[in-house]
């Protein structure tokens, strides 16, 4: 489409008219990019983006340059619109030969902007995720737990950089493989570490749904006999005179349960 346009304009106007038209396009581009800038800014503001990114490092960096995340994003959008206008105008006036360079440049331009947006969004979302996860883990009073939010943040950064590089056409295969290995390792570690918990939870869901025994029943699991006080997803609590056995639910499945009726 973009290649066809200059020819169409040329056939409608004269050579000189095309030059005037290209000036007009430049002018329209200025106005258009200003409108884009205004519109993006108001849209992002009303969408609550400026509140959402408040306090993230990216926003703080932007602030130190006298702008903000919303400002940067809308400026990029405006620059995109303006560069588009320039390219169009140059094409119209046929200042440079509308050769391969322009074709590739115009083709490359959108990816460049997508890459920039991907980076910005990745940075902001990564920081937000870190804050959110940190907030959720705040009640866990364990110093080492603070590594988990960091991990989340850098995982998201990594994915954002991958998307950006992919847009730019950089060979990212090795990085994707690295990401795959990383994800695989996380899953494997989780599976191994939480194996017993997962088995207990699977058994617990069955117990909760079917209730083969319920609170108040007298039961025996292995050698622990008593009255069931509580059944939750992971454990069953059995109590007999002053002793409370907390039995992982998987043992109920492994060794079975004896209900004692009298």
């Amino acid at each position: 489409m973009q290649i066809e346009w200059p020819q169409v304009v040329r056939s409608v106007f004269s050579e000189r008219g095309a030059f005037a038209a290209s000036i007009a396009v430049l002018f329209v581009g200025v106005v258009g990019s200003y409108i884009v800038w205004r519109w993006t800014r108001t849209f992002l503001r009303s969408a609550g983006v400026s509140d959402a990114v408040e306090g993230t490092p990216f926003e703080r960096t932007a602030r130190s340059f006298g702008t903000s995340t919303v400002g940067i994003v809308s400026t990029i959008a405006a620059v995109f619109a303006y560069v588009l206008a320039i390219v169009l105008a140059v094409n119209l006036a046929q200042l440079g030969n509308p050769d391969l360079f322009w074709q590739r440049f115009t083709g490359f331009l959108p990816s460049l902007f997508v890459a920039a947006f991907a980076l910005i969004i990745g940075l902001v979302v990564g920081d937000k995720a870190k804050l959110y996860v940190g907030e959720r883990l705040r009640s866990v009073k364990l110093p080492e737990v603070s590594i988990i939010p960091e991990l989340f943040k850098y995982s998201i950064f990594y994915v954002a950089i991958l998307i950006a590089l992919g847009q730019l056409g950089v060979e990212t295969m090795a990085l994707v493989v690295l990401l795959g290995v990383y994800a695989f390792a996380v899953v494997v570690v989780a599976l191994v570490a939480f194996w017993d918990l997962l088995r207990s939870a699977a058994a617990g869901i069955y117990l909760l749904l079917r209730e083969p025994y319920s609170i108040g029943d007298r039961v025996r699991i292995d050698d622990n006999e008593g009255i069931v006080q509580e059944v939750d997803v992971f454990t069953t609590r059995i109590e007999s005179d002053g002793e409370e056995y907390i039995v992982p639910n998987q043992t109920v499945f492994v060794s079975g349960i004896v209900r004692i009726r009298d």
Binding site: L208, S214, I215, G216, G226, I227, Q229, E230, E239
Partner: protein, 267 residues
Amino acid sequence: MTGLDEFLEELVADADAVCLFSPGKSHYETLASDDVVVVGPDNDVEADAFVQLPLEFEDLRDRIRFGVEGAVDHGYVDEDADLVCLAKVFGEDADTVARVRADEFEKSGVYDLFANSRAEPSVIRDVLEVAVELGKKGQKGKPVGALFVVGDAGKVMNKSRPLSYNPFEKSHVHVGDPIVNVMLKEFSRLDGAFVISDSGKIVSAYRYLEPSAEGVDIPKGLGARHMAAGAITRDTNAIAIVLSESDGLVRAFKAGELILELDPEAY
């Protein structure tokens, strides 16, 4: 205003400790250097000396009384300490200063009811709130009664028998779930006791309690529902929360004794 300043200074002079009732974070930090005990439903400010009082008692007297009782129980303040209490009564910020001696009150056991029962404090609070709500609403304007037995559910189930089919069989409703508020109206129609586990699961309704009532000492004039409540808490480690049909008050029992009396209308 010098007279007022002097009066305030005199009021807070030589206090052994300060009790903050649900303070804001900045508020707490300005005072944190002193001997400060924080009392409230949640430890938002991460204070070291914290007394959990799950219920925000509307009456300031009750709030201070039960909070101070908890602080003494914890050993944060001595039994004969002079305390300055900062609380919010009208607004969102602390607006009231009160001075009390820690031994001014008779021991009520309310703090003990929340903190040292089998059930979790939040569960007890939720059940109290359900009872209060039920007391306010009633059924079609008529007062209703209800009996909730909280904690030690296994034993309670063994000391009771069903009056009818248990509507909570194979359900997993917990007090504090939003659905419980919707079910309140249905609750008032069910006779017998509700049995609630330590973690707040509603185990059963329609339970007829069969504890031995020997040695239960509850105020004369209370009916069979209260007697059953007192007796079951004496026989097991549960606590019982009763909504009286005749006078509309919510009462809490522990170890066979009446601990707390609340008026739903005033709460």
